[in-house]
């Protein structure tokens, strides 16, 4: 198939960016979306032109590195699928495809489709952990965890930290991301000891980084490739209120 691409090109954080039109020719429907860009890039390099810079690594939907807005949707049209797992059979011959970077105040652009998501790391650094030491912890089966609680924790822990929730949110909010970590740890006995402090410092870090607040659009849930649910945001709010009432 042949496709008409409009790709966001921007030399650097302070340069002006624009959508550049280019062609992707002889694309197999079995290619992944990133393999399609690989092909385009190979041609650009052969012509001595700069290839499109984009983040990617594992290409199996788990590392959370890939980050493109495709036709206005973070990670593209297929539900619960990262860009790297999206395949060209989801498009038709002759389609026009718009490819843009994550856009949010807290994600400054580095080049083309690459943005700086280190703000998410700083939210975790603020308190997204249990403060256990290496060694000196009890036997793993000393703490019983009811299966439903363990399942909720696991559901929340599936977050890959890609930032699609932020890119999808009209408010550039990282509430879904933050709430996933808060929920994971608050659902487990090991995480309860610091639950109140954790929700406070993580939320504060989130606001300091320039992420907006949740405004109940639920776009984050729709864009999340891992099915992280907005009910975790409710859990975050509940933990937050509890922390301030006690």
């Amino acid at each position: 198939m042949n496709l008409n691409l409009y790709v966001w090109r921007q030399k650097g954080p302070n340069a002006a960016g624009k959508l550049q039109q280019m062609q992707a020719k002889n694309i197999s429907p079995d290619m992944s979306f990133l393999e399609m860009i690989d092909e385009v890039n190979e041609d650009l390099v052969r012509e001595g032109k700069e290839p499109i810079a984009f983040d990617h690594d594992c290409r199996e939907g788990i590392c959370g590195t890939c980050s493109q807005v495709i036709n206005g949707i973070p990670h593209g049209p297929q539900e619960r699928t990262t860009v790297c797992q999206l395949h060209m059979r989801k498009f038709r011959d002759g389609d026009s495809i718009y490819i843009e970077p994550w856009r949010a105040k807290a994600f400054p652009l580095i080049k083309d489709l690459i943005v700086d998501r280190s703000a998410l790391d700083r939210i975790i650094q603020a308190g997204g952990y249990t403060s256990c030491h290496t060694g000196g912890v009890p036997d793993a089966n000393a703490i019983l965890i009811p299966k439903p609680d363990a399942d909720v924790a696991m559901d929340a822990a599936e977050c890959i930290g890609c930032g699609a929730c932020v890119a999808a949110c009209p408010n550039g909010s990282a509430m879904l991301f933050t709430s996933a970590k808060v929920t994971q740890l608050a659902s487990l006995p090991q995480g309860r000891a610091e639950a109140a402090r954790r929700v406070c410092v993580m939320t504060e870090a989130m606001l300091n980084e320039g992420f907006g607040n949740c405004s109940n659009h639920y776009e984050c849930q729709a864009a999340c490739p891992k099915g992280i649910k907005v009910s975790f945001i409710a859990k975050l709010n509940r933990e937050f209120i509890k922390a301030h009432m006690s």
Binding site: H56, D57, T81, L120, Q125, L144
Partner: protein, 637 residues
């Protein structure tokens, strides 16, 4: 030179305890005077950096990714082994040790493997304390499963995302130390050289991948936790960025590279769909617990799978290995699949695939149970192939997956260069010639949480902190070398992309140094690779400049190293005139096609010393001594 693995003396079970008593400690007040560099933030790197930071050392951690949460450990699906024996099914530290030694085809060091089995239990405790949501039963206890050839259920898992959960656990511990100010993480920063001063590792040279700036960091010790090298085959299950550069540059600075020919091919990957393929996706081996592997009995049988009656199917693993069946070890399953396809009985486009069929399990357990166990894997399979594995068998084929070989280290995880420690997949030490399923995660975390904190202290206690700074001329020299290489890559301005060279190299490696190797094929590879290398340095095209984010430049640098390393791998395979584990030489096989080891002549670690790019490297041997296990024939019949 005969290498000494420095294994402690005494009975196997007491070696590590005794050694810990014998090693020197660094006084708590002195720890903050030492600086340690950790390269890589996967399971080994993140756990090491977090643990060392917590002890009070100053740690600089580096990763090429945009966050320390993204290293490829994250993609491990199946699980992590430990000798907890929670199911009361006969497991023990000795049994885990024995299985690992046997699985590695008796090519690993007894003392290291025993220590690994010993600390395995602490890893599970640690991860649970961090909040890793392992699978649990309805009573709230941890659940276990049997995995990849083990006859006990010793594998802990978190759905199909165990690697992700363990890495996020280590990442959270690391994040806590970043907050505490003991660790500084340098993301989007790639190590390009090891700086050696008076024979000891004292720093690294890196390139900031955003600004392009080349800079140096000095430290009292360097830990490489930089993963494996199987992307030398171009197509593998590794992430796109996985590379050999950090390890290879250390090798060029004098560190020995051990057993590079031990590469693991994973039997259950999604088959190649065309030339455009950029990577291969692994489907967790746990699928083999419930899936049955088969191909049509007759050559060229093109009927769709559901139209092929039972009598016309060959469940070849069950037929050849009745006691292990579909759970036969990775190398055995992989070769059997290739054999079936080479015999013209492969399925799918191109004929390079075999079926992994769940219909019996679905009949027995129902869709829901299968969905609960493997739902995310079935979804992933459908996304890639557009096929529904609940309705039709999966198609799988072996792919390169893991490197058992790596930089040579002694029992303390220290390379032959003092001050250089190597952890996780990047070292060679624990898996011998073949790694068992669910053991990579175990080793990465064992090295990082529970081994390096002790052994590095022993080295540091004998070192004056801060003795070398980046003012030392070796740093300047290293920086200039790297800058010159970058300039050279950018100035060639040839006609082929770096990726084209990578693909070309990968083809040679797969064809001649792949699942089956022969003297002839290896000699052929050693003949062809220098030619590709030569052309690369004359005809590669790298666009852009060095002073900016430039992914083509990053790629070209890594491929330049693969083009040298591939030859080393082939040389090691040629030297090893035996078949063992992941290294299969067609000349050395039993009448039934099983690997034929030669314990008399090859029970050693081959550690290679760099002698120059177009020079033959020098081999050093570390004899493997087995005092506690009998070297049996690894039979899985």
């Amino acid at each position: 030179m005969i290498l000494d693995g420095k294994c402690p003396s005494g009975p196997l079970a007491q070696k590590w305890d005794n050694h810990r008593q014998d090693m020197k400690l660094v006084n708590p007040a002195n720890k903050r005077k030492y600086r340690i560099i950790v390269v890589g933030t996967g399971l080994a790197g993140a756990s090491a950096a977090a643990s060392l930071g917590e002890l009070g050392y100053n740690v600089d951690a580096f990763c090429y990714q945009d966050s320390s949460r993204r290293a490829h450990s994250i993609a491990a699906q199946g699980g992590i082994n430990a000798a907890k024996n929670y199911p009361n099914d006969g497991d023990s530290i000795f049994r885990l040790f024995y299985d690992t030694i046997k699985g590695g085809d008796f090519r690993s060091r007894e003392a290291n493997v025993y220590r690994l089995a010993q600390v395995s239990n602490s890893i599970i405790d640690q991860c649970v304390a961090q909040g890793v949501p392992f699978a649990r039963d309805y009573a709230g206890y941890l659940d276990n499963r049997s995995f990849g050839g083990a006859q006990v259920a010793r594998t802990f898992y978190a759905r199909g995302q165990t690697g992700q959960q363990l890495l996020l656990g280590a990442y959270s511990a690391l994040s806590r130390q970043v907050k505490a100010g003991t660790v500084k993480v340098h993301t989007r920063t790639e190590m390009l050289d090891l700086v050696v001063v008076d024979g000891e590792a004292k720093g690294i040279t890196v390139r900031d991948l955003v600004t392009g700036q080349v800079g140096c960091y000095a430290a009292d010790a360097v830990c490489l936790c930089t993963g494996g090298y199987v992307n030398v085959y171009y197509l593998s299950t590794n992430a796109q960025g996985c590379n050999v550069t950090a390890n290879y540059r250390a090798y060029k600075k004098g560190a020995f590279f051990a057993n590079p020919c031990y590469t693991q091919i994973h039997p259950t990957c999604i088959p190649v769909s065309g030339e455009h393929q950029s990577k291969l996706t692994l489907m967790s081996e746990s699928l083999r617990n419930d899936g049955r592997v088969w191909v049509p009995l007759k050559k060229g049988d093109k009927r769709p799978p559901h139209e092929i009656p039972e009598n016309d199917r060959d469940y070849y693993l069950e037929r050849k290995y009745p006691s292990f069946g579909n759970l036969a070890p990775r190398d055995i399953s992989s070769r059997a699949a290739k054999e079936a396809c080479d015999d013209g009985r492969g399925v799918g486009p191109g004929g390079f695939g075999v079926y992994l069929d769940f219909s019996d399990a679905i009949k027995r357990l129902g869709d829901d149970k299968i969905r609960e166990r493997y739902g995310n894997l079935f979804e992933m399979y459908e996304r890639i192939t557009d096929e529904n594995a609940y309705k039709q068998p999966m198609r799988i084929y072996p792919a390169l997956h893991y490197a058992m070989g790596g930089l040579w280290v002694d029992y303390n995880l220290q390379s032959n260069l003092p001050g250089l420690f190597v952890l996780g997949e990047a070292n060679f030490s624990d898996h011998g010639a073949n790694r068992l399923g669910a053991s990579a995660l175990m080793q990465g975390l064992a090295d990082g949480y529970f081994v390096i904190p002790y052994t590095i202290a022993n080295y540091l206690a004998m070192t004056r902190p801060g003795a070398v700074t980046t003012n030392h001329p070796e740093f300047d020299k290293s920086r200039q070398d790297i800058e010159n290489q970058i300039k050279k890559l950018l100035s060639i301005n040839g006609r082929k992309t770096a990726k084209e060279f990578h693909r070309e190299l990968g083809k040679v490696m797969w064809e001649h140094v792949g699942m089956e190797r022969s003297e002839q094929s290896l000699k052929r590879a050693i003949e062809i690779i220098p030619g590709i290398r030569e052309e690369f340095w004359k005809n590669v095209r790298v666009t852009g400049s060095g002073a900016e984010l430039n992914q083509e430049l990053e790629r070209a640098g890594r491929i330049a190293d693969f083009l040298e390393f591939g030859e080393l791998l082939a040389r090691d395979a040629l030297n090893r005139n035996e078949s063992c584990g992941g290294h299969f030489r067609v000349e050395f096989q039993m009448p039934d096609g099983e690997a034929k080891r030669d314990d008399e002549n090859f029970s050693y670690v081959a550690a290679w010393e760099f002698k120059g790019v177009d020079q033959t490297p020098e081999i050093h041997k570390e004899p493997l001594v087995f005092e506690n296990v009998h070297l049996g024939i690894r039979s899985y019949k």
